[in-house]
């Protein structure tokens, strides 16, 4: 059997079948036993494995240490956010959405608010938009920090994981002072935000900013400056441009593959049209590029936070609206650039007090689909690192 013929084989619940020529972006699909009839080791990675970032279950087929095929199995955290949203009022839905992407709740909240505002035609005060942007950037930084830490942990380095905690705790203090919670903010509502920023928080953020870029350089030196880390990252987990687009990847993963696309710049929302920032991109789409792109994004984050603090307008933080928000029948879609990519919410309303259908377009869900492609061909150690580099959050994948 030639390799081309062979590539078509795969395992399905019904048995083995041959689907014909492979479509664009696919190199191989899961298969059973190779032509030499060597028995492969099928390994269940997770759930309960520290480095699979939650409860992701990946079936990998190993030949020695080499990954022959991989298949992700989801659903260990499927808790019906989309279904439950149908029984919640419009201002109650963010409670669920916070828990979907638990590392960057403010992005999901904002996406929800934008969607509802679009359909209901609610105007948002300028200050509310700026506050949303400020908090989203803080949250993005916190989320990327966790990513750097866990990525280091995946690569075997313990220090960055604990070093990032000092920034993160400071950011969480700021977010707690503004929103009242460390993680589940419930701060952004359709029409604006829940409360104004308290007095003195500006100074607190600036104090953190004075440390942040030095600490980021330190973390970057610890990981990116390390020869071993570079050896591990360069050329592993390559996701080329075609594959990335074919699998619907967005965010840092897509930009690392060389597609210059950022919703903040290309489909502007909130305060972003008025802000200056760059969009870092990579070329090869390997783990190193994803690392560089994310660190570059963090530097842009700091730049944005400075601009947002300096230019924060005066005025109302929320438009007047009734508690029982009614949204006219229809559909709308709005998306924000979350730390993981395009986080969109598709809302179907029938004019009632609760949404008729809410669909969360979760970026990590689409980014994860590529594992079947990206893991094959590498070693098991690469597989762990590649999975880590995708920055998945199971809460929003399983919903």
């Amino acid at each position: 059997m030639t390799d081309e013929e062979h590539m078509g084989w795969q395992i399905t619940s019904e048995g083995t079948q041959r689907p014909g020529p492979l479509p664009r972006g696919l190199r191989r699909i899961p298969r059973g036993v190779d032509e030499l009839a060597t028995e492969h080791l099928v390994l269940n990675m997770g759930p309960q494995h520290p480095s699979t970032h939650g409860v992701l279950h990946v079936l990998v087929e190993l030949d020695g240490e080499e990954v022959i095929a991989a298949e992700a199995s989801l659903g260990y955290l499927h808790r019906g956010i989309e279904k439950l949203a149908e029984s919640r009022r419009y201002h109650q839905v963010p409670t669920l959405l916070d828990r979907a992407d638990y590392l960057s709740g403010l992005h999901t909240e904002t996406a929800w608010a934008l969607t509802v505002e679009k359909l209901a035609g609610i105007e948002v005060p300028r200050k509310a938009s700026w506050l949303r942007s400020l908090l989203m950037e803080l949250n993005r930084y916190a989320s990327h920090l966790v990513w750097i830490g866990t990525f280091g942990l995946d690569a075997g380095a313990m220090a960055p994981f604990l070093y990032i905690m000092r920034d993160r705790e400071m950011i969480l203090d700021v977010l707690e002072a503004i929103t009242g919670s460390r993680m589940m903010f419930n701060y952004v509502r359709p029409g604006g935000v829940v409360a104004d920023i308290p007095a003195g928080i500006d100074a607190k953020i600036r104090e953190w900013l004075s440390h942040a870029s030095g600490w980021l350089d330190e973390n970057d030196a610890l990981l990116g400056g390390n020869e071993i880390f570079r050896l591990r990252m360069n050329g592993t987990g390559v996701i080329d441009r075609t594959t990335a687009l074919a699998f619907g990847m967005t965010g840092g993963c897509l930009r690392a593959s060389g597609v210059d696309y950022d919703l903040r710049r290309d489909v502007p929302y909130c305060a972003y049209p008025e802000l200056e920032f760059e969009v870092p991109t990579g070329q090869r789409g390997d783990n190193w590029d994803r690392y560089v792109v994310r660190v570059g994004e963090m530097r842009q984050c700091l730049r944005l936070i400075r601009q947002l603090l300096d230019g924060m307008p005066e005025g109302e933080f929320s438009s007047k609206r009734s508690r029982a928000l009614k949204v006219p029948a229809g559909e709308s879609y709005a998306a924000v650039e979350s730390p993981r990519g395009e986080l969109g919410i598709h809302l179907v309303s029938d004019g009632g007090l609760t949404p008729y259908r809410m669909r969360l377009r979760s970026p990590a869900y689409f980014n994860l689909a590529v594992v079947d492609e990206a893991l094959a061909g590498g070693l098991i150690a690469d597989a762990i690192v590649t999975l880590g580099s995708l920055d998945i959050v199971l809460g929003e994948i399983d919903r």
């Binding site: 480095s51 075997g156 070093y163």
Partner: protein
């Protein structure tokens, strides 16, 4: 009769040292890692948390003794001891002071290396008998890597051995007394710098510390070969890991840093063990430092680094040093004329 008693007493002292060492080292690791990672480390149990490890040991010893149903019972039970015993026996040739050693052997160094090289066997056995895929991968990695890294470890020890002209640790340490040119301590680390670097790297790999902790790569294989072990058996494996660290660091001290001797000064007999321990613990601290800060190599990178870099370098160094040592008298005579 008295010799038998003496041997027994020495063995007892050795076991005591081993246990105390293990306990202290685990405590030290947690404190050092804590401090490296901006934390405090254990501080609640006893003053400064020094009783923490004792608590851990008591707890582990009184845990339920679990064995997976599908495990190979005999091998599973014996593997922890096969890991533990060699690392314990490797204490025999260590020289703690001018007259302080369990026993003096002409080929003590050889014995120590031979014993530490038995450890991969136990690791492989543990990985295989657990009948778990993760353990098996960990065991296989350990077997492949530890055997590979033993070669540069041994080769790098040859330089000091040639300088001292003996495999007896007592003689190697004795050869490092005094000074060169009036002020440089006669420690072999200076002329043997390349050998020392090779020794440091391969001993880090031999003891399975980050960046070479392939066989128990936390993020890849959970705890690797020790995956299915809990309670007492796990504590033996854990203790063996730290005992190994102590042994390689102690051998490094003897080979390169003058053993129990203070630089420039004559060392009183009562101070010698303390000096030796201080040097060894400094070495262990450096190992822990690396463990706390470096990322991990990939398994193939680590193997190619060993076979393509470390072994050629150490081989070349052995040959070069042999030439230097052979030619030096001729050259020095020629120069003095």
């Amino acid at each position: 009769m008295s010799t038998a008693l003496g041997v027994l007493a020495r063995f007892g002292a050795m076991i005591g040292l081993l246990l105390v060492n293990g306990v202290v080292l685990i405590y030290m690791l947690r404190k050092v890692l804590g401090r490296l990672h901006l934390r405090i480390g254990p501080n609640r149990v006893g003053p400064w948390g020094i009783l923490q490890t004792i608590n851990d040991v008591i707890k582990l010893l009184t845990k339920e003794d679990l064995r997976p149903d599908s495990a190979d019972a005999w091998l599973f039970n014996i593997a922890p001891f096969l890991i533990f015993v060699p690392s314990f026996m490797a204490y025999i040739p260590l020289v703690f002071g001018p007259t302080l050693a369990v026993t003096s052997l002409d080929t003590g160094l050889l014995l120590a290396f031979a014993l530490t090289s038995l450890v991969p066997l136990g690791v492989l056995m543990a990985g295989w008998s657990s009948n778990s895929k993760w353990s098996l991968l960990g065991g296989m990695r350990a077997a492949g890597l530890q055997i590979a890294y033993e070669v540069p470890l041994l080769l790098s020890a040859l330089g000091p051995v040639m300088m001292a002209g003996s495999l007896d640790p007592v003689k190697i340490v004795a050869a490092q007394s005094g000074v060169w040119l009036g002020f440089i301590p006669r420690w072999f680390v200076l002329p043997q710098l390349i050998a020392f670097v090779v020794y440091a790297i391969s001993s880090q790999a031999e003891t399975q510390q980050t960046p070479f902790d392939m066989s128990e790569a936390e993020s890849e294989l959970i705890t690797g070969f020790a995956n299915e072990y809990g309670g007492m058996r796990f504590s033996f494996m854990y203790l063996a890991e730290f005992s190994n660290m102590f042994v390689v660091s102690a051998i490094g001290t003897m080979l390169f840093f003058g053993g129990w001797q203070l630089p420039w000064l004559a060392t009183p007999a009562w101070l010698a063990p303390l000096v030796f321990m201080a040097k060894t613990y400094t070495g262990i601290f450096v190992m822990m430092w690396a463990r706390g800060s470096l990322p991990r190599f990939r398994v193939d990178q680590m193997l190619s680094f060993c076979w393509k870099v470390l072994i050629p370098v150490s081989l070349a160094w052995v040959v070069l040093w042999a030439c230097i040592q052979r030619l030096w008298p001729v050259v020095s005579v020629a120069v003095s004329r």
